[in-house]
């Protein structure tokens, strides 16, 4: 099982908004495939899967904000 974490995006950036999920619960995802897109100011940042697996949970929905380090999804 692995957790998809909102990564460090730069100095002084404490949060970002989830703007788009490339997958949904139950989807099989490949290593390095795009999982979720985050928006901060004028940048859209994609987070990729660090392992292959099935999306077990999505914890932050599109349009919601999350803090750096927060768990966004779980892959099993």
């Amino acid at each position: 099982m692995s957790q998809v974490i909102l990564p460090e995006l730069g100095e002084g950036i404490e949060k970002a908004m989830v703007s788009f999920w490339h997958c949904k619960v139950g989807d099989q995802v490949q290593k390095d495939s795009d999982l979720v897109e985050l928006v901060t100011d004028k940048a859209a940042f994609n987070v990729a899967a660090d392992q292959a697996g099935v999306v077990k949970e999505i914890l932050v929905q599109e349009g919601e904000e999350a803090k750096i380090g927060q768990v966004l999804a779980v892959i099993e």
Binding site: G10, E11, I13, F20, K42, A43, A44, N46
Partner: protein
């Protein structure tokens, strides 16, 4: 870093070239910077509010202006001939791995570009982009919106060089209700895209290759 002049190119074709270049750079290939102009098109960033498009869709369609939803940050943006668009496909791990710093560096490039044409410009805190100073008040000259995948950048900046500024009445630029300006409107002199591209390449080299910029937030 390779500079590629795409000339006047359809938005989607340039987007496809960007995505291909992003894959190349992720795989360790040479960084690329695309320079181009687009036929008139409106693009909506993620989380954009469609109410910022002021013109009725049928009017836009009649004028052949497409509306595209795309994967960059920012609100609605207009691209049109006379606007120099730059898409840097860069490995941001080499430039601080910091989204704010990258925006700052793009703004710094834009400020240096405008200075070459005798235009004083500034950042506007909380409103990413480059704004002219002067008697006419602050006007937006350069819009910025980027995408990042595995710390490789795409999308970039739109610099109004000789853009028909009346076209901006179709939208509420960036959702800010911002008055817009161009190099030509601010200097009162014609400015060709060829010259603008040469100056921009010089400023990108200065800020990104030679690293001669100071990051002070």
């Amino acid at each position: 870093m390779k500079f590629v002049d795409l000339g006047l190119i359809d938005y989607q074709k340039a987007y496809d070239l960007q995505r291909s270049a992003v894959s190349d750079v992720i795989a360790g290939g040479e960084e690329q910077v695309f320079l181009c102009e687009h036929p008139s098109v409106l693009t909506l960033g993620r989380m954009s509010d469609e109410r910022y498009i002021l013109a009725p869709r049928e009017d836009l369609a009649a004028r052949g202006i497409e509306v595209l939803s795309i994967d960059r940050g920012g609100e609605v943006t207009l691209h049109a001939p006379g606007q120099l668009v730059v898409y840097p496909i860069l490995d941001l791990k080499k430039y601080g791995k910091d989204l704010k710093q990258y925006m700052f560096q793009l703004e710094e490039t834009g400020i240096g570009f405008l200075k070459s044409f005798g235009i004083d410009s500034i950042r506007n805190p909380g409103k990413t982009g480059v704004w002219s100073e002067g008697a006419g008040g602050h006007k937006k000259v350069i819009s910025i919106g980027v995408g990042v995948k595995k710390w490789v950048s795409f999308h970039g900046m739109g610099i109004n060089v000789s853009t028909d500024l009346k076209l901006f009445s179709l939208i509420n630029p960036c959702g800010l209700g911002a008055p817009m300006a161009s190099v030509e409107s601010l200097t009162g002199r014609p400015c060709g895209l060829k010259k603008a591209k040469e100056v921009l390449i010089e400023k990108i080299k200065f800020n990104f290759i030679e690293g001669k910029f100071q990051y002070n937030t």
